[in-house]
């Protein structure tokens, strides 16, 4: 297999830059692996490491600083057979830290080559996440205030399955790259290099110093034993294939004549846990069985089983325009916190409004007819109050009638739930 280097675009690094050697060695690694350009994508971001994609006759994807792993993830998921090689500098490593961490956690088969030269070369040698505190760099004294991090340590603790560090001048660099590419999962190779244009102008760093520094670093086992697991893409596809296809949204057949051909606005004021929203949905379904169009808006707290829960339902024989409710025809007042949340709504009621008031709930003085619900004496659990109040409505022939309601329950519930809801229909009395 021949070289994949792009003859028309030879590398253009500063004299002595280790990126140059890494470019040539990456090519050798591809050749040793017998890969064709069509089987590889080089994904890069910003900075000198971001030039890599242009030097190769492979697929190429060059994007924003630190984001290369995000594109690589999308590409690998879309094209599972593609070898996805990401090059990133220590700059991209810092700005894209969150993406590095999640790539480690995910274990998608990407190869991340970190071209770590301890500074932002392209913008004038500012400090990066790996610049030693003692270095003289383009950020004045600022790097003296911060500690550099060891990406290998971070990657291993974030779950990366393959983590290695080596020198850009290492004799076995090609072998290191090949091993990383061959690894079936996310692999990181932290390649230490020299930036003669910026960094080594004021800091002493030679291949030998790199070698000595690497020898002093704590050893890492790679592949990382505790992080070995299934490759993400294959795992994803396995789990995905077990997922059941979702049936399309329900179609409701019009079976009944409605009580009245006019728009009706219903507000249910309750608490989380009272199944307020389900009751609203049943009201909508019931309306649909009589040819109404419906809308439902809900309001609830971020907490579960605590706080108010409110639903606003509109049933209309015509297309529904404005979905706000300014003057409800019916209010189901099922809990104090629900009522308190919408106190002003009671001012808007007119004489034709109907309010169903649950036990223990006080409501502001208002126009309209109030009917007390005696759910306690009927031994109806408070979790059933919302549905019970809708049943009362149906039994009063307000908004919906009983046949509409029963049909709605059959659309909504199956088996035990259907039985218990139909049983509730029997039990609930309007005037016990």
């Amino acid at each position: 297999m021949g070289s994949l280097l792009n003859k028309s675009r030879p590398p253009v690094f500063c004299p002595g830059c280790s990126h140059d050697r890494i470019t040539q060695t990456l090519d050798r690694a591809f050749m040793n692996m017998g890969l064709r350009g069509e089987e590889i994508v080089i994904v890069t971001d910003i900075g000198c490491s971001g030039l890599f994609d242009t030097f190769f006759n492979t697929h190429a994807f060059h994007g924003l600083h630190g984001r290369a792993l995000t594109y690589a993830t999308g590409l690998k998921m879309a094209q599972p057979d593609l070898h996805v090689i990401v090059t990133m500098g220590d700059g991209g490593l810092g700005i894209g830290g969150a993406h590095v961490l999640s790539a480690c956690r995910r274990n998608l088969d990407l190869t991340l080559l970190i071209l770590n030269n301890f500074n932002f070369g392209m913008t004038g040698g500012q400090f990066s996440a790996t610049t030693p505190s003692t270095a003289q760099v383009g950020s004045g004294f600022l790097n003296r205030l911060e500690l550099p991090f060891d990406v290998c340590k971070i990657a291993a603790s974030a779950g990366a399955a393959y983590v290695r560090r080596c020198s850009g001048f290492a004799k076995n660099l090609s072998e290191e790259i090949e091993n990383a590419v061959r690894f079936d999962g996310f692999s990181i190779l932290d390649i230490w290099g020299i930036c003669p244009g910026r960094y080594t102008k004021r800091n002493r760093l030679t291949p030998q110093v790199i070698e000595e520094s690497l020898a002093k670093m704590p050893p890492i086992k790679s592949p990382v034993p505790e992080n070995q697991r299934e490759e993400y893409g294959r795992h994803y596809r396995n789990l995905a294939s077990e997922q059941k296809q979702v049936s399309p949204p329900k179609k409701i057949t019009v079976q009944f004549d409605p009580i009245e051909q006019k728009r009706m606005d219903v507000v249910i004021l309750g608490s989380a846990g009272q199944r307020i929203i389900t009751a609203g949905e049943i009201l909508c379904l019931a309306g649909l069985t009589a040819g109404f169009q419906t809308t439902q808006k809900n309001e609830y707290n971020i907490t579960v089983l605590r706080g108010h829960s409110i639903t606003e339902v509109i049933l209309s024989p015509q297309a529904i325009g404005y979905t706000g409710i300014e003057r409800p025809d019916v209010v189901l007042a099922l809990s104090q916190e629900g009522v308190d949340r919408r106190k002003r709504l009671f001012d808007s009621l007119d004489n034709s409004a109907l309010i169903l008031q649950a036990p223990g709930v006080s409501i502001p003085s208002c126009k309209g007819k109030i009917l007390q619900l005696n759910f306690k004496s009927q031994k109806i659990k408070s979790t059933d109050w919302a549905l019970a109040a809708v049943i009362v409505l149906a039994k009063m022939n307000r908004v919906i009638h009983l046949e509409m309601l029963k049909s709605a329950l059959k659309y909504k519930f199956r088996d035990n739930l259907l039985e218990s809801s139909l049983d509730l229909v029997k039990r609930v009395c309007v005037h016990p």
Partner: protein, 368 residues
């Protein structure tokens, strides 16, 4: 179903097979629905570590050949900015949903607004045009999502959908059988026999052919200023040609996708102009005015960007006055003032989380 669910179903009907998103109210239920719909179809739905990653995944997947969508709200669309610019400049098809909530900033997660309308247009570096569509109801969420995919694929560009919490999380009955589905458009591969040049475009249709990264032909993609070959260029003439093409490939064809709903009354000297959820209250107002014997004309725009100028001028030709209503403190009205300098332009805006009611609109109309 709610507007968000309808968008997910619309996306799947369009052939969307990749979705990535980060949880955010009021857009989360798009993610939830896509997660149910896509995997059983062999598609992919991912939860990104943040919004930047989510849209980044989509850009990668789109270049890998899949139709891709992401969805967020104001705080997330802010983070999408750099990748929206990328998708514009590098012609990556993607559908981006912004379920708007009350801003600024984290604002109110569960209150609606149309506060991102200018941001969606201008929130990219370089300022090149984007397509922005605005649904009015749940049916639109379904239909406009399909149209958004068609436009994204045909024009190789990001298409943004300006939804609103009040549409997205309001459940509504929809007669799906009555929805007239457009033909689904796919990306056009190059004719065979010639070497593939990734950003080469003909003068007439101005849109490069598409081949996926990972196929048998090498494809280059880059966010840097590039020529037809996908390599960085410093040639001013070539740069100018590409920028001009990126602009005119959309602006010259806006007539083809000037979606709207209009009700023109010949006895009316007033045009009520709005978009999004406010279109629903406006429909009520139109009916009320008509039945009370003092009709007004109504234009509900569903394509907001590029501004459908010809359409707006046509619909406003016979009126003296245009009343613009929007759920913000005055954004799109600037465009109307710009393109209709000889009309009286009045404005009604509200940005407090409440819907603008038909009564408020009627009052604004009567103040003319």
């Amino acid at each position: 179903m709610e507007g968000n669910e309808a968008m997910a179903w619309g996306a799947v009907a369009s052939g969307c097979r990749f979705f990535a998103g980060y949880p955010i109210t009021p857009a989360t239920t798009i993610f939830n629905t896509m997660l149910k719909l896509l995997p059983p179809l062999g598609g992919i739905c991912l939860q990104g570590e943040d919004e930047i990653a989510s849209i980044g995944y989509c850009l990668g997947a789109s270049m890998g050949g899949l139709k891709a969508m992401t969805a967020t709200s104001g705080p997330g669309i802010s983070l999408y900015s750099e990748h929206i610019s990328f998708a514009i400049g590098s012609e990556i098809p993607i559908v981006i949903v912004d379920v708007q909530r009350l801003g600024p900033s984290t604002g109110s997660a569960t209150r609606g607004a149309d506060g991102d309308i200018q941001f969606l247009r201008w929130g990219n570096s370089g300022g090149l045009p984007v397509i922005v569509l605005a649904p009015v109801d749940v049916r639109d969420c379904y239909l406009l999502t399909i149209k958004a995919f068609n436009l994204a694929e045909e024009f190789r560009c990001p298409v943004l959908i300006a939804s609103n919490k009040e549409i997205a999380m309001t459940r509504e009955s929809v007669d799906m059988d009555a929805v007239d589905l457009p033909k689904i458009i796919e990306r056009t591969p190059p004719p065979s026999g010639k070497p593939f040049i990734p950003f080469e475009a003909s003068l007439e249709n101005q849109i490069p052919f598409f081949l996926p990264i990972g196929g048998d032909v090498i494809v280059r993609q880059t966010s840097s200023t590039h020529g037809a070959d996908g390599y960085i260029t410093t040639d001013f003439d070539e740069i100018a040609r590409v920028q001009d093409r990126l602009k005119t490939k959309l602006t010259s064809k806006v007539k083809r996708f000037s979606y709207c709903e209009s009700y023109l009354e010949k006895d009316s000297d007033t045009l009520l102009l709005t978009y999004g959820i406010t279109g629903r209250a406006a429909r009520d107002v139109y009916q009320m005015c008509k039945s009370s014997g003092s009709p007004i004309s109504l234009l509900i725009l569903k394509t907001l960007w590029p501004v459908p100028e010809v359409l707006i001028k046509e619909k406003a030709v016979n009126v003296r006055r245009v009343v613009v209503v929007e759920m913000n403190l005055g954004q799109y009205v600037r465009e109307i003032e710009r393109i209709l300098p000889n009309k009286i332009i009045d404005f009604l805006g509200q940005m407090d989380g409440r819907l603008i009611s038909p009564n408020q609109i009627k009052k604004a109309l009567s103040h003319g």
